[in-house]
Structures are given as structure tokens and as C-alpha cells.
């Protein structure tokens, strides 16, 4: 049998040389572990991941350590700038800004990440099943999408959210998710239509791979760049939408706080008493940036032909 020996330099589609990017040490890696390995090579992504982890620790462990509670009022200091007593200063009525920021961060982190995750997952499932199965499934799914697209989301959230008073704020997360997946689902649907005709999808079907596996293994990973970008945008979008809603008095209600309500309260005095605004605003920007960096790195790790990977 004649064998084509593998040369050290491999050729990709265009005939350009690409250096082998994976180690051929004989260890068999599943896709998940390969992606993790490639993700780890990106230092900025690891830093961003660490930062998000730190934020979580900070947000949930922080309140246990400090002496102030976010509702508590310190009658000895009103509108004090940052000091050793109040690290981020105090508000007009003597609440500790540091404690409030931590509380807001808790809410916003969870709302943002959950909404991003939930809405992109709904979009992926609804869009991909519509595109893959066609027929009645497609018609029902697309009808649902069109229906949600024509409903004015801000108004509906505004109407429903007062009824959620007293309920868990997780309902609010669900409400935000329900209105933020529709456009992405349309895109996923059309991407699926083009991927469904690919021969590797036929090949998988012909070897007896069940539909849900075909969708999760072949269809969704091949639109990973879109899904990840969508998810990262949804994270920042949700945090901002929540801030917007809270600003108008829906969503998170006082005395509870979120980054959105803090920013809303702080904007008026952003220049005169900057500590009211700068800490919560800065943290929001940092979170959105970090999520984007992680998304970028994840996309490159999943896509083997990604250009930016070659620069590593």
C-alpha cells in the first residue's frame, strides 16, 4: 500500500502552509478538552476569566467581611468622599457606597450572565430546530418569533414587572430573556438552513446519529462565532436594559439596588460627587469588556481556522 507520508508542514484549503497547531503526543483529546487547551493558551482570556471569578468572590463574599450593610445608614457621615471608614464613600443619606456596589454587582452579574445564557440558548434551540426539521416545527417556531418581535418588550416588561413585586427577582431575569432572543433566533434559523445542506450533516444522519446530536455537535458549533458574539452582547445588553428599567422604576426596586439603579442615582452628581457614579460605572464597563474578551477567545478556540489563533 502506498502511503502519503505526512510532512511537517500541512496545507490548508488555499494551499498556504500552516504549522500544526495541536500537539501530536498521542493522547486522544475530545473536542471539549481541545477547546479548553486552546482557550488556555490565550493569556488575556485567562486573565479575564480570573477577573470575572474575582468579581463573583468580591460580590458574594465581600458583604460578609465588611461592617456595613447596603441598607444601613451611617448617621455620622453624609456624602463623604472615600475614606478608611467608607471605602467608596457614602451617599446623601449616609449609606455605604462600597456595600451598595457589592450588592448591585451581585444582582447585575447574575442578571447579565443568566440573561445572556438563557436568551442565546433559547435562540439556538428554537432557530436550529426550525431550520433543521422544517415543516410544521419551522412554522410554529417562526410564528412564535414573529409574535415576540412585534410585541413592544419595554412596555410589556413595564406592565408585568409591578405584578412581580414580592416575587423572586429571578422572574425578572426570565422576563428579560424572553424578549431578547428573537432576532438571534432568526439568524440561527437561516444559518441552520445553509448548514443543513452540508455533506457532514448528511454524513452524520446517514450513520444514524440522532437529530439532537447532529444539532448540538455539527450545527451549533459551526455557528459558534455568531452564538458567542450574540451571548456576549446579550450580557451587556441585559445589564444595560436592567439599568434602564430600574431607572424608570421597574425591575429592581428600592431599597434593593443593582448597578443600574446605582448609576441612575449617581449620574446627577457624577461631576460633583464622582464616587457615587464612578465605582458602579467603572465596574459595569469592566464586566462588559471582560465578557467580550472571554467570548472572543472562546470563539477562536472553537474555530480551528481562526486567523488570530495563528498569532499565538
Amino acid at each position: 500500500m502506498a502511503i502519503e507520508p505526512l510532512s511537517e508542514i500541512q496545507h490548508n484549503v488555499e494551499g498556504e502552509a500552516v504549522a500544526p497547531t495541536t500537539t501530536d503526543d498521542g493522547e486522544v483529546l475530545s473536542r471539549g478538552r481541545l477547546i479548553w487547551r486552546r482557550f488556555k493558551r490565550r493569556r488575556s482570556a485567562m486573565v479575564a476569566l480570573g477577573f470575572i471569578g474575582l468579581m463573583f468572590l468580591f460580590a458574594f463574599l465581600g458583604p460578609l467581611v465588611i461592617q456595613w450593610n447596603y441598607e444601613q445608614i451611617d448617621p455620622t457621615s453624609f456624602l463623604e468622599p472615600p475614606s478608611s471608614d467608607h471605602w467608596f464613600g457614602t451617599t446623601q443619606i449616609g449609606q455605604d457606597v462600597f456595600a451598595q456596589t457589592l450588592r448591585g454587582l451581585q444582582k447585575s452579574l447574575i442578571i447579565g450572565l443568566l440573561v445572556g445564557l438563557i436568551s442565546t440558548s433559547i435562540a439556538a434551540v428554537v432557530g436550529a430546530t426550525a431550520g433543521y426539521f422544517g415543516g410544521a416545527v419551522e412554522r410554529v417556531n417562526l410564528f412564535l418569533v414573529s409574535l415576540l418581535l412585534v410585541l413592544p418588550d419595554f412596555l410589556i416588561i413595564a406592565i408585568i414587572s409591578p405584578r412581580l413585586k414580592g416575587q423572586s427577582w429571578l422572574w425578572f431575569v426570565l422576563l428579560l430573556s424572553i424578549f431578547s432572543w428573537t432576532l438571534a433566533a432568526m439568524v440561527v434559523h437561516s444559518l441552520t438552513l445553509s448548514l443543513r445542506g452540508r455533506e457532514y450533516v448528511s454524513a452524520a444522519r446517514y450513520m444514524g446519529v440522532p437529530a439532537r446530536t447532529v444539532i448540538s455537535r455539527h450545527i451549533l458549533p459551526n455557528m459558534a462565532s455568531f452564538l458567542i458574539i450574540d451571548a456576549t452582547l446579550a450580557v451587556s445588553g441585559a445589564i444595560l436594559l436592567e439599568s434602564g428599567l430600574s431607572y424608570f422604576g421597574f425591575g429592581i426596586q428600592p431599597p434593593d439596588v443593582s448597578l443600574g439603579t446605582l448609576i441612575a442615582q449617581g449620574t446627577a452628581s457624577a461631576f460633583t460627587y464622582p464616587w457615587l457614579f464612578a465605582f458602579s460605572g467603572g465596574i459595569l464597563v469592566a464586566i462588559v469588556l471582560t465578557v467580550n474578551i472571554i467570548g472572543d477567545a472562546l470563539r477562536d478556540a472553537i474555530d480551528p481556522s481562526s486567523k488570530s489563533r495563528a498569532a499565538l
Binding site: E16, V18, P20, V28
Partner: protein, 710 residues
């Protein structure tokens, strides 16, 4: 350089129409400069046909584009190209336009993009005439109709008013030739003019090309990858590899005694129609080098079985071949002086690794073997819809229209036919394992219309497919280990067993097991197809469907894959259903052949019987149209050139569906033509049994006659 002087001096006596000297083309790219063409010297004499042959990436098309000034702005072109003494390189677009079309005619690979879609063909040819000649509109129109008639467009006065999309591919290419010769050029440059066409249409177009050359007396620079076309068309041939000409000379001379191992290898790797079944091809190991940052030395050295130390350090110049019978035979090889008749010191440069036949030795008669697949009167129709908002059905595409065949254990059946004949639709229907629109399919004894899902799942494990293009059949996001392991995982093989099996399969198809974590994009085309084959074999299927398994691959790579397929069948006792448009490709592997035309099988039988004694006129025409890579033989062949194109599969044809193109029908007296017009011949209208041959060879023709076609 002394070597280059030798080249020019040998043809100095007659001033060449085109003289290319030391032409180099470099493209800047992200990874570095791509040296697509590296110092090419060529001459095309008056009325001479020079073919440039090479594999993809050898720089052959870049040479043509550089000559016509059609390279992108970023390309750096150096050297000289003189057309009748005038320098072409470095001319501006305006100056070149005066030469293009008038002095030099051009024919491209894709004629659809070469014509403007919004003007009629007649207008475009007239325009080409009026740009370069001072003639009236009416004269130009008359001349363009004459030209269309010359290239064999039926009803040229009517067709001249048709738009490009109303022409079929073959007609468009002929119209392109008409435009190329409109201004009586001295040179025609044709870049892969028939690559996009079916083989019978290719024969028509090549015939027109020859006629056009006779009429105009022009020289032809023909760029192709097909060694068969070169054998039939060329006076001289230049073989290109890695941006350089590595061998050049008279076509008979080069084919008979190549002096460069690459040419030798290429000629040995081409599947031939006239080969013996089971005779292994001789593949060239390895892949062409990257054109970025070429290492010093001969670019072929890493693949050359005769490479010695100097080959890796110094690139050999193109010099006269010592063992040549003709003075203008040049080769670029350090050892060419030792190569005589493809041998060095009596040993062949490309040793055959094993001399055994690749056909299985199983001698069980066909009738005693288990039946794996029965397809009976299979029908597949697609609705033809018009209208965007409210689509309505305006017709039906009869893609598969009553196909019957069976496949037995350990057997390789080839379904052969041109594009649109329904061969891929047939195997898709089989793979779907659902109730067909008409007829029946039974796989491993189970009828597909009665399968429950558990049974269907079990059969999916026994029935596997390898697609045409490994680039699209392998998920780019999955590492190779997961790709090959996918069928195993779907059928519940646990992780450890899967891992062992994947390594075993990689070795089986000739790849390194250590490359298990790589992605498909890190492999070359041939290697990717091997991965697809490994995946198909993972579950040890009984029947493998091969849908054009090598048509996306280069000749030197395809030989290795064909050998592998034949070898695997022999070793594992597989049965194949092989879909192909190229008869030569199936010669190595197939032991039965079914020829399809317009949704029907027109001839089926044992491969040896069909290849040696084809009976249906379409089979005969198809075989006759396949060019042989053997210049004297190819020139001497009596070619059957079919008229017209395959009718649209949306029409219902009464009588024989091949009648409109049948040369036999036209030669018959009216009384014998009658059955062809009135009644469609069944698949066994002619049987070999009736003539006392083996019973297993039948053809759908009322008047089947033997005919010498190879």
C-alpha cells in the same frame, strides 16, 4: 544563464508567435511572498499547439493570466513575454486591450462569467468584432452568425439573439471560442477550457477547437491538468511543477520517454480506460510544496524516489535531456542523464510496491453470493416551482426514472454517467432509507418502506458513504478523532474502545495515528479523503457508497486514494456502490458497471464485458470521449462526437430517450428508426445472452451493435 540560452537558441530559426522568457510572478500574502511562477521560458510557434500541464497550484493558470495582463494589481510580474516581437509585460491596460481579442484570443474555464449576462451572445461577438475592425453593425452581425455556425451552434441566426444563460455550458464554451477567433488571432490562450464540462461535451468542444485552429491558423497555448487532452491536442508540452517548467518537448517524445521523475510519476498515476482491471496505479507520495518560502533544491525532491543529496541543496536547471531522441526535449533533473525509459540502471524510478492485482480473489460465482442491495424501478422526482411569495408547481424534474440494479456481497458496482443523469439522486435515495416515491429499495434483505426505527438504525451501521468533496463532508470544527469516532459513538461504542478503533482506522487508511487531535484543515485533500474513508469503515459496514470519491483530487493524489479503495475492498471484503462521471476512474475498482442517461440505466454488466464490448450507443460515445494519455493512440482514435446536449430532465420523451443525440439512430433506415421513436427500450432490450456471451450484460437499445471505441 547558460541553460536558458540553450532554450532560446534551439527555436531561433523560426520567429515564434509567443516567446516567454524568465517569467516570474509573485503575490504578496500574509504568510510571505507566494512565488507562483518562478522563471518560466516558453515558445509557441506559428500554428503550434503548446500545452502546459500541471496539478493545481503549479502556476500554470498564473502564466496565462500574466500573459493577458489579467493578474490582480498586487501581483509582481517580472521577465519578458513577446507576442510577435512586441513586449507584453509591463504594458498598460489600454495597450494590452489592443492586442487582446485581436492578436490573442482567450478562452476561459468558466464561460458563464466570461460573458456579460445582460447582452445577447450575438451582440457580444459583434462588439468584439467592431472594437478591432472597422465594419458596420450589419456586417458584424452577419459575421458573428457565421462564427457561431462555424463552432457548431445549431440555428445560429436564432441563437445569436439568445442571452448567455439560455445557452448550455458546452454551447457557451463554443460561443467563447467563436469570440476568441472572431478577429482572426495569431494566438489563442485557453485556460482549462473543458474542465467544467461533461466528457461528451468536452469532446465536442475540443473538436471545435481543432476546427478553429485549422480555420485561423492560430497557435494555441492550452492550459490543462488532463494528460489525455494534452495527448490529443498538443504538438509540444510543458510540464509545470511548483511554478517552474520541469520538462518540455514534443508531445510524443515526452510521453514516450519522460526524463523527469515528476512527469514519469504523473503518467503512471493517471487511470486509463484501456488499463487492465485490478492493475494498481503508481501514486506519487507526499504533497506539492508550499509556494511560500520554498526551500532550496529541487521542489520535487521530497516526493521523488530517485532523490540524491544534491537534489535537496541545488535546484536543477532546465537543460537538454541527454537520453532524448529529439534535440528540443528539456528536463530539470540532476539525474535525468541516468533516466532511460523510466528506469535508472534498469530499475524503474517509481517502483510498484506490489505487483498483485487489486481485485478480490473470491471466486464464488455471483449468483451464489448474498444480495446486499436491491433497487427496483426506483423513481425520484423533484417539483419545479416558480414564484417567490406563492410558489406554484410548474413542472417536474424526473431525476431518477425507473432504475433497477442489485449489489451482491464483495462486489463493486459503478454508476457512471454525466452530470444530471440521476446517479447521485439514486444513491441518496438508498442512503435515506425511506419509502421511495416509486419502486422499492431493499438493503440487507429489509425493504426500506417497512423499516421501524430500530431496524433502520441497525442498517445505518452496515451502510456507509464517502462523499465527493472531503472539505465539505468533514466537520471543520471537529478534531479527526471525533470525526472518525462519530459513527462509533452513535452506535454506542465506549470511549476506550472507540479510541483504539480510531487509531487502528487511521493506520488502515495510511495516516499517522498521532494526528488524531488535528483538525481537517490541517490535512491535504488526499489525506482528508482518507479520513472520510476511515470514518465510513469505522463500523465495519457491508456496503460502502462512494460518491465521486476522487473527482476533487489531483491526479498524483487520486491514484493513491484509488489504490487504497481497491486494496481495502480486497482486504476487508467490502461491497461498493461507486458513483463516477469518469469511466477511467472506475476501471481499477469496479467489477460491474451501470451506465446512466437521463434517470435511467442504459447499459449494465460485468466491467470487463462493458469495457471491452460496450453495446449501447451512449456507452460507446462516453468511452470514446474519454481521452487516453497516449499521443499516437489518441490521435489515431476514431472519435464518436455526440450532437447537442443532454435533454432537460423536465421533459417526457416518447420512445428512446437517447434518440435526439444518437449517432446510430441517424444512420438507420426509416423502418428501423420506428421502434426508437415509438417505444422506449427496456433495460434488457439487448442481452449478451442472445449472442451467446455471458448472460450478465444487458443494454437498453433496440439496435445494439458492437463498435470499437478505445
Amino acid at each position: 544563464m547558460t541553460s536558458r540560452k540553450a532554450v532560446t537558441s534551439s527555436t531561433n530559426t523560426t520567429a515564434p508567435t509567443l516567446a516567454v522568457e524568465n517569467l516570474s510572478v509573485t503575490f504578496p500574502s500574509e504568510g510571505g511572498n507566494v512565488q507562483a511562477v518562478r522563471g518560466v521560458d516558453l515558445q509557441v510557434g506559428r500554428g503550434e499547439v503548446l500545452c502546459i500541464v500541471g496539478e493545481s497550484g503549479s502556476g500554470k493558470s498564473t502564466v496565462a493570466l500574466a500573459l493577458m495582463g489579467l493578474l490582480p494589481q498586487s501581483a509582481r510580474v517580472e521577465g519578458s513575454a513577446r507576442f510577435k516581437g512586441d513586449e507584453l509585460i509591463g504594458l498598460g491596460d489600454r495597450a494590452l486591450s489592443r492586442i487582446r481579442g485581436k492578436g490573442v484570443g482567450m478562452v476561459f474555464q468558466d464561460p458563464l462569467s466570461a460573458f456579460t449576462p445582460v447582452y445577447t451572445i450575438g451582440t457580444q461577438i459583434s462588439e468584439a468584432l467592431r472594437v478591432h475592425q472597422d465594419i458596420s453593425r450589419a456586417q458584424a452581425k452577419k459575421r458573428s452568425i457565421e462564427l457561431l455556425d462555424l463552432v457548431g451552434i445549431p440555428q445560429p441566426d436564432v441563437r445569436a439573439n439568445a442571452f448567455p444563460h439560455e445557452y448550455s455550458g458546452g454551447m457557451r464554451q463554443r460561443a467563447m471560442i467563436a469570440m476568441a477567433i472572431a478577429n482572426d488571432p495569431d494566438l489563442i490562450i485557453a485556460d482549462e477550457p473543458t474542465t467544467a464540462l461533461d466528457v461528451t461535451v468536452q469532446a465536442q468542444v475540443l473538436e471545435v477547437m481543432r476546427k478553429a485552429l485549422r480555420e485561423t491558423g492560430a497557435g494555441l497555448l492550452l492550459i490543462t491538468h488532463d494528460l489525455g487532452i494534452v495527448a490529443g491536442m498538443a504538438d509540444r508540452v510543458a510540464v509545470m511543477y511548483a511554478g517552474r517548467v520541469v520538462e518540455q518537448g514534443g508531445v510524443d517524445e515526452v510521453y514516450a520517454s519522460p526524463g523527469m521523475p515528476y512527469t514519469l510519476g504523473l503518467l503512471g498515476a493517471v487511470p486509463r480506460l484501456d488499463a487492465t482491471a485490478g492493475e494498481p496505479l503508481i501514486p506519487i507520495d507526499g504533497n506539492p510544496p508550499s509556494m511560500i518560502g520554498l526551500s532550496p533544491g529541487c521542489p520535487f525532491a521530497s516526493r521523488c524516489p530517485a532523490a540524491i543529496d544534491i537534489c535537496t541543496t541545488t535546484e536543477p536547471p532546465l537543460v537538454e535531456y541527454a537520453a532524448a531522441n529529439q534535440p528540443d526535449h528539456l528536463t530539470a533533473c540532476h539525474r535525468s542523464a541516468e533516466i532511460v525509459d523510466g528506469q535508472i540502471d534498469g530499475a524503474p524510478v517509481f517502483p510498484l510496491l506490489h505487483h498483485e492485482s487489486l481485485l478480490p480473489r473470491d471466486a464464488t460465482p455471483r449468483d451464489d453470493r448474498a444480495i446486499l442491495l436491491i433497487v427496483e424501478d426506483l423513481v425520484r422526482e423533484y417539483p419545479l416551482r416558480r414564484g417567490g411569495v406563492f410558489p406554484r408547481r410548474v413542472g417536474t424534474v424526473y431525476a431518477v426514472d425507473g432504475v433497477s440494479f442489485d449489489v451482491r456481497a464483495g462486489e463493486a458496482l459503478a454508476l457512471v454517467g454525466e452530470s444530471g443523469c440521476g446517479k447521485t439522486s439514486t444513491v441518496t435515495e438508498v442512503m435515506e432509507l425511506r419509502t421511495p416515491q416509486g419502486g422499492s429499495i431493499s438493503v440487507l434483505g429489509s425493504n426500506t418502506s417497512q423499516l421501524d426505527s430500530a431496524e433502520r438504525f441497525r442498517i445505518r451501521g452496515e451502510l456507509q458513504i464517502v462523499f465527493q468533496d472531503p472539505l465539505s463532508s468533514l466537520d471543520p470544527r471537529l478534531p479527526v478523532g471525533d470525526i472518525i469516532g462519530e459513527p462509533l459513538q452513535a452506535h454506542g461504542v465506549d470511549r476506550a474502545a472507540r479510541r483504539a478503533r480510531v487509531s487502528e482506522l487511521l493506520t488502515l487508511v495510511g495516516l499517522e495515528p498521532s494526528h488524531i487531535n488535528r483538525y481537517p484543515s490541517e490535512f491535504s485533500g488526499g489525506q482528508r479523503q482518507r479520513i472520510a474513508i476511515a470514518r465510513a469503515l469505522a463500523l465495519e459496514p457491508a456496503l460502502v457508497v462512494l460518491d465521486e470519491p476522487v473527482s476533487a483530487l489531483d491526479v498524483s493524489i487520486q491514484a493513491g486514494v484509488l489504490n487504497l479503495l481497491a486494496d481495502l475492498r480486497k482486504r476487508l471484503g467490502l461491497a461498493y456502490v461507486m458513483v463516477a462521471h469518469d469511466l477511467a476512474v472506475v476501471r481499477l475498482t469496479a467489477d460491474r458497471v451501470a451506465v446512466m442517461y437521463l434517470g435511467r440505466i442504459v447499459e449494465i454488466g460485468a466491467a470487463d464485458a462493458v469495457f471491452s464490448d460496450p453495446r449501447h450507443p451512449y456507452t460507446q460515445a462516453l468511452m470514446s470521449a474519454v481521452p487516453l494519455p497516449d499521443p499516437p493512440l489518441e490521435r489515431a482514435r476514431q472519435r464518436i462526437v455526440l450532437v447537442g446536449d443532454q435533454p432537460s430532465p423536465t421533459e417526457r420523451i416518447t420512445g428512446c430517450r437517447f434518440r435526439s443525440r444518437c449517432f446510430l439512430y441517424t444512420s438507420l433506415p426509416a423502418s428501423l428508426q420506428k421502434p426508437c421513436e415509438e417505444e422506449e427500450p427496456g433495460i434488457s432490450a439487448w442481452t449478451a445472452e442472445s449472442e451467446g456471451h455471458e448472460p450478465d450484460h444487458i443494454a437498453a437499445c433496440w439496435h445494439a451493435q458492437p463498435r470499437d471505441v478505445v
